[in-house]
């Protein structure tokens, strides 16, 4: 365990991934230190979720190497809190937020916790306390006992973060947790993730397509585009020069007076680059 202080939470070296015959990204190197808050940015389809799947061991690298918490991807999943990108829970789901968080704690256990005696009762009490602690940590106490489908998008997202946190993971992988939230909720969930990262010392890799709600908090960003990536501090990565180089077309980064960034001129979809061949064929047939 003494090595855990120096071993990175995530390390990708010259990594490439192919999916369905197409190279999603290649030669990507990324290192996340313990307790670091890193944003993974890029357009839709640039392979951000793919990177989370690689780190979870659900996808093999075609080239290069990856370690997660010092082990091969997939081997340390019990120490990872993973929040997949998902639609909100519908009103019909007959579960409370508290039950959802509880599933994060022991939902992968077979059998029922039916033991008798003082030991079993103490274990049940300890499990209840951990669930309550995670709910307190995200500030969801007021609505944790309501049916999850009746909670707002921001409330559901906080409860899902509590679910990912309840086992006290060393690494959080959050896939678009700000998606489909309004601006005030984007700001407060960003601040919440930052607080968890600092207070609990958890490394966080957060996938987003807009960096602005996260600007005040991120230690570094990794920007995926056109099958490649650049990583570094926000002010060094999200620049006209770096992104133009990455996309391969002139891209301009504007900074508003309040510090917000706007990226102008990037190709609509990075997959466009890979699909160009198909498009040309279509045009040829049409013409």
């Amino acid at each position: 365990m003494s090595t855990s202080l120096v071993e990175p939470a995530v390390e990708l070296r010259d990594a490439s991934v192919r999916l369905g015959g197409r190279t999603v990204w290649s030669d990507v190197s990324l290192r996340i230190e313990p307790g670091e808050f890193v944003g993974l940015l890029g357009e839709n389809g640039s392979g951000k979720s793919t990177m989370l799947k690689v780190l979870l061991g659900a996808l093999e690298l075609q080239r290069g190497s990856a370690t997660v918490l010092g082990r091969p991807p997939g081997a340390a999943n019990r120490e990872i809190g993973y929040l997949p990108q998902r639609p909100g829970f519908g009103a019909g789901l007959p579960l409370r937020g508290r039950d959802l968080v509880r599933l994060g704690l022991d939902g992968d256990r077979w059998g029922l916790p039916l033991g008798l005696g003082a030991g079993a009762a103490a274990r049940r009490a300890a499990a209840r306390d951990r669930v309550a602690g995670a709910i307190d940590l995200v500030g969801a106490g007021a609505y944790a006992d309501r049916p999850i489908g009746e909670c707002s998008g921001g409330e559901q997202q906080r409860l899902l973060i509590a679910q990912a946190l309840v086992r006290e993971p060393r690494l959080l992988l959050l896939d678009e947790p700000l998606d489909s939230l309004d601006l005030p909720n984007q700001a407060s969930v960003s601040a919440l993730v930052d607080r968890i990262c600092r207070e609990a010392g958890v490394a966080v890799l957060l996938v987003a397509h807009d960096v602005n709600p996260l600007l005040a908090y991120l230690d570094r960003v990794a920007y995926l585009a056109a099958g490649r990536a650049v990583a570094g501090p926000v002010e060094q990565v999200i620049t006209s020069e770096k992104l133009s180089d990455l996309y391969g077309v002139p891209v301009e980064v504007l900074r508003a007076s309040d510090g917000r960034l706007a990226v102008i001129g990037q190709p609509e979809s990075p997959s466009h680059h890979h699909d160009r061949h198909d498009h040309d064929e279509t045009h040829a047939h049409a013409g």
Binding site: R86, P94, L95, D99, L103, G107
Partner: protein, 310 residues
């Protein structure tokens, strides 16, 4: 349907009424079989609704039709027909594109295809059989009042086995129902759990629909569980409530039918529907209370903001 001779009549003496109901062996067997079905359907029905697989459950229940007619055609016991078709139906639904974690609409279309095909096969078997297929009414509505001791035993054994497996996989099944990707990341066999649940559902339906008929087993799968879900969102109390409602519904329905000229399947479904309506009313009232509570809470929070603005 009371025995021949004097029709039983309802009196104001409850103990006397109950002793009248329990006077006949067929009524005791009906109560035992009905109770086993209520417990089994109450538990598996709750999970079925959480997984939004009511349509799959309905389709598996209807497998009784091709199952029974194929068994008649082949000249084997009806139980084999039910079992074969329910298991085949469960496997077919489990292999549909989309599956439990794909698009719900796509899955519904696939389940509809399986159901239509199964009913068509049932018609084919009936016409190949040529003769009149015994008791078509019994095939659809079952015959709770004609349950043999052997059938009671069979139901109890299947009920215990399915409940035990369900308890063993309960938490991983629930996690992979609400969060399939997270469950897969934690090493759970999400696909196998999904197929396994459909198989359990198929087994439960195959065992019970011989006794209750496919229509009654479906109302016992859906209505007590839906009532319980309307009353509470806590899983353990909801499962207990689902079973309790199922038991009360079966007992009341059987008792009323004993004193009435209408069959038990009708009364059980009517009582279940009444309980469902009642539970929706209770749920509506408590949701209204919650909303009002939230509204006052919000205005309480807003007060300082307003004063700050002032």
């Amino acid at each position: 349907m009371p025995a021949e001779g004097a029709n039983p009549t309802l009196t104001w003496n409850l103990a006397h009424d109950i002793s009248q109901v329990l006077e006949y062996h067929f009524m005791i067997n009906a109560l035992l079989a009905g109770s086993a079905v209520a417990v089994l359907a109450g538990l598996i029905g709750w999970m079925m609704l959480v997984r939004r697989e009511a349509f799959a459950g309905h389709t598996l229940a209807l497998m009784a039709f091709p199952g029974a007619s194929a068994a008649a055609l082949a000249g084997v016991a009806a139980a084999w027909g039910y079992l074969t078709f329910c298991v085949a139906g469960a496997l077919a639904i489990a292999r549909l594109p989309g599956g439990a974690r794909g698009s719900w609409r796509e899955e519904a279309a696939g389940v509809g295809v399986v159901q239509a095909l199964a009913l068509a096969l049932g018609f084919l078997f009936v016409s190949l059989y040529g003769g009149v297929l015994g008791d078509l009414e019994g095939l659809l509505f079952g015959n709770l009042l004609g349950v043999s001791d052997g059938q009671v035993l069979e139901l109890v054994v299947v009920g215990l086995a399915v409940t035990a497996v369900l308890a063993a996989i309960a938490r991983p099944l629930l996690l992979s129902s609400v969060d399939p990707e997270g469950a897969a990341a934690r090493g759970l066999p999400v696909g196998a759990l999904s197929s396994g649940f459909l198989l359990l559902l198929g087994l439960a339906v195959a065992a019970t629909s011989q006794v209750t008929g496919p229509l009654l087993v479906f109302s016992l799968l859906v209505m007590p569980a839906a009532s319980a879900q309307a009353i509470t969102s806590r899983p353990a109390p909801a499962l207990a409530a689902s079973v309790a409602i199922g038991l009360v519904v079966v007992w009341l329905g059987l008792a009323v039918s004993y004193f009435s000229v209408y069959p038990p399947g009708f009364w059980i479904t009517v009582v279940a529907f009444a309980v469902y309506l009642l539970s929706r009313l209770v749920a509506g009232a408590s949701a209204g209370r919650r909303r009002r509570g939230v509204a006052t809470g919000t205005s309480g929070l807003r007060a300082p903001a307003a004063s700050r603005a002032a």
